[in-house]
Point group: C2
Chain length 260, copies 2
């Protein structure tokens, strides 16, 4: 299975061009799984809830969804991307996984970061896993990394590949994802962005450093902090199934939840 | 509050000299908290359960306990050390915290590593916190680091300083402890050992790299991988109380356990 990510540099609000640019960047490549960043088509720093809603799409429809569905069909791949989700007159920071036959899975970010709390509702879907081409994927978004329970939940639910759209501004996540992979024995795909936004006085510099990490903590591919980048790696998802790290330790069987 | 650790190089089985050597190394220094490694006085690699039992001490008595109690009284400090604990005809991989007025807290390792499972019983005490000089400490041992639930439990129970006797052979723990500190906003004190043991065919090289880490992930002090070392740092334990990492995110209040 070939897993890929595209680290982008969106121009705030220019949805059509941001989508076009991502499509052009991945067009020459083949993959079975593509992860795009959090809010990849809109940009990150909304000035208000109203502004975010004006860019929102309902799950399963809209310009961005249609483009991602078309891409999924073309590539016979699952495409995962972050977007502002309109639901019941509210707006969520969400990620959708779009499958080539048209089905999709939607996840609303559980742990909102900083000013996102002024814009988005706390997610209500809970963490989501789904199967594609015989592999199980799990969805989480950006700041969810800071809470080990996020990836633990996904891994306990059988996820082999953690798909992690992100817009990172804190420095620690790339390193943390190595530890998250190790503690759960899973693959991780963090698709981050680069560039700067400063739309309401707070300057945000996005750190890039998107990474694909193996269950043993090895960084299989990584992007820099200054350029848009496409990365892909061929993996065997079943490497995440055996939680045995030596003859006597199984990372899941060794858990003792009554002490947690 | 001055927190300290001693990274030692015990000679297997030479309890009297290993204790004497640790006492001599810390004698010139003052501290309020001292953390010594896992099984610091006996060495690590027991050939059998019977051999481990022959080195065991019941909680609150024995040669090593008496020496640590004497040290706690002399230094007016809490002394934490790893030892093989005899209890009810069984043997546990334990850590004791000895206070100068003579009280103590005992913790039996929850997550046993590799061949330890052939020697020790799985711990039954659960994770332990206790107060000393106005600060709350939490106890965990070595491989407990691999399970994020260990430190999460201690931090949710109010621990400001995680005291972590260790005998590390895997390479990832020093880096992981930065992430553990960050995800819980606590201080961590990992006291490891150096040297090699090869008592039943399996060669173990202990990695040293003992560390004291701040709640923001800063490594305040660290030892190398080749020498016995005493480290100490003055800290304000209350820096661990505020889980607010920015104006809007509180690492504990933001947890959403119904999704975990």
């Amino acid at each position: 299975m070939r897993v890929a990510l595209y680290q982008n540099y969106p121009k705030f609000g220019d949805v059509e061009n941001n989508v076009k640019q991502a499509l052009a960047a991945v067009a020459p490549h083949s993959f079975d799984l593509l992860v795009l960043p959090e809010l990849f088509a809109t940009g990150y720093q909304f000035k208000s809830r109203e502004e975010a809603m004006s860019y929102g799409e309902p799950v399963g429809s809209g310009f961005t969804f249609d483009a991602m569905k078309e891409l999924a069909i073309q590539k016979k791949a699952v495409v995962i991307y972050g977007y502002p989700e309109l639901e019941g007159g509210k707006i969520y920071n969400s990620a959708a996984a779009v499958m080539p036959e048209g089905s999709f899975v939607n996840y609303q970010k559980v742990h909102l970061f900083d000013t996102e709390k002024q814009i988005f509702e706390p997610g209500q879907t809970g963490f989501k896993t789904f199967d594609f081409n015989g592999a199980r994927m799990g969805l989480m978004i950006c700041f969810d990394w800071r809470f080990p329970e996020s990836m633990r939940r996904l891994a306990l639910d059988g996820a082999q590949i953690i798909c992690h759209p992100a817009n990172l501004v804190l420095p620690h996540c790339p390193q943390a994802m190595i530890i998250r992979a190790l503690e759960n024995n899973v693959f991780t795909v963090t698709a981050d962005r680069i560039g700067v936004e400063e739309r309401h006085g707070q300057r945000l510099e996005f750190i890039g450093r998107s990474r694909i990490i193996a269950p043993d903590g090895e960084v299989l591919a990584e992007a820099g902090d200054e350029e848009a980048s496409f990365l892909s790696v061929d993996i065997d998802p079943s490497a995440a199934d055996n939680k045995q790290i030596n003859e006597r330790n199984d990372l899941f069987a060794d858990r003792r939840p009554h002490f947690y």
